[in-house]
Amino acid sequence: MAVVVKTYEPKFWDRFYLPAILKGLAITLTRIFVRKDTILYPEHKHVPAPGYRGLHRLNKHADGRIKCVACEMCATACPSNCITIEPSAAPWDDGEERYPIKFEINLLRCIYCGFCELACPKDAIELTEVYDFANYTRDSLVIDMDGLLEVYEVTSQGSIYTRQNAGQPVKVAQQL
């Protein structure tokens, strides 16, 4: 089947180019009176929508004990094998009898799919909305258990970006 290729034939007014220029200028001028979509990034931070999958955190119970029981479901479900867990018998007598002594996530290998969050039977691992944790070395992007618990401290009182846009400093990027 033959394909009809439409070609552009400039009309009489088109050859002047002026109408098109004026049309473009009109659009540009109306933008002055519309709310801006761009933000000045480092000073102002984008607040992601709920359900955004960013940096991980390890949740704690109300009494400050880690929720994770080192069942390694997240590490098993992980498609990029970025989670390393070392389990051990818990030091406390009441509560869960197992807890992690090592919990590492390689943030460079992670594809932020959220499978770990879905697999977790204890709601211990969660993905937060934190997205700006870029760093200078690869080693610094392997986050350990202390780091993940620190993320919980920082993010557990609501979005850090709404607070930050109100003038508070970013703690997450510093501790990484």
Partner: protein, 532 residues
Amino acid sequence: MPLIKIDDRELEVQAGDKLLAVALAAGLEIPHYCYHPALSVTGSCRMCLVEIEGMPRLQTSCSVPVSELPPEKKVDGKFDMVVHTQSEKVVAARKLVLEFLLLNHPLDCPVCDQAGECFLQDYSFQHGNAHSRFIEDKRVRANEDLGSGVVINHNRCIMCTRCVRFTREIAGTGELYVQNRGYNNKIAVFDSVPLDNPLAGNVADICPVGALLLKDYIHTTRFWHLSQTPSVCTECTAGCNITVDAANNKIHRIISRVNEQANGHFICDYGRYAHNKYVEATITSPLLKVEDSWKEVSWEEAYQVIKDQVVATGGGANLRALASPVYPNETNFLLANLVDTVVEKKSLALLPIQNGDDQTFPAGFRISGDKGGNRRGTEDMTRKLTVKPQTLFRGDVGVLLALDGDGRTAIDGDVEKLLKASPFTVILASNMNKFTERANLILPVAGPFQREGTITNDRGLVQWLEPALQLTGEAKPDWQVVAELGQLLTGQASLYTCAGDVTWKISQTIAAYSRITRFKLGKKGQFVQGIK
């Protein structure tokens, strides 16, 4: 012989055999917890219920014997028993039984070490309900230490009493019993009489749920991370079959593997915890003793030193060798070959290994006192050449080539004199111990659980030793090092590329081993020629 029909399968079986055993032997699956082929039948879990035509109620298939009917009473004119395992009645009964078993079960699979190999998980998934109607509080009890490295989690227990029957029937010590009745019953030990026998670890193996746990393994890894290697224990001459569970080149636990020709269903605790002995002081490169301290050298340097020393001490004719009963047949065979080629007179002895008393248990399980696991094989390999150790230190003593005894060497007077008489001692070893410290040169070879080859137990069963761990550092397979030493001292090229090649050579050389090759052995092994 009675002809029975289980679902669609027609089976001709021995009268008196239990229905469940018959079905399992035929490859049919009937879910069960309390039934264990090595233990007596109790029928306490009720999981193996089946419908048998002519019987009014469902029967526990583990306790129903198959019997022959008179011709006029046979079902359909030919069957002695017609069994349904998938009928509506059976499926409904299984659901109810599982709901009962799970009444007080905590469902703490995330922290349970049995998860992944748990029959409660498997059967709940296949035959159970997704929900329980039990809304009351579950019975909660604290964990208890039973002794011998075994912990019990009462909450997970389903009272199958396999462990109780094991201590009574197999170990013969009977420490465990069922305390109280009904809601209050639990597995317990008598006051101040803890679980204490050399087979205690087996109760964790036979526990179908995660109630009995080994302290050594608890909370160390998850089951699905482990790679399971079917292997053989070399801690004594009984040659028990084991499965070595390792992850990341580290052994997490050793469990028993069924082989009726060797150990049956169980292993002893010495073998179960053997891997813990060998984790430290691993030798990773050839070590040369220079003024009472060890210097790491390369393999080329090590071989050069051996060559120089052999020349300096009067050539190969003065060579002495010690074969070791903890190494496989292949290594000892090659060492014997080397000595046979290089030395004119007999100059090889067996390394003395610790020896104790044999232990035999009521059901026939035995632990050999002889800790040289491959004693019989080593004797078979070196029969032509072996002399008593005291003849070795007479005359001009040259270089001594010795295989290590894995820390089980019994350094007696004869060995002491031999070590003193020898101007240069070369020991092939994997771990530092009292014997290896006496060496002038240590060559790193495969250690326990890294070795490959055949071993012969004291009853003449030849089995293939499968390596569970990779070699560390510059260590080489033991048979390869002996083959290379042979090449070095005789000048003849080595013909072997793998341990199986040496096994083939053994089958060509030694009459009793003529039928044995790597692939004929399989996982169960073969007896040497001349033994029925």
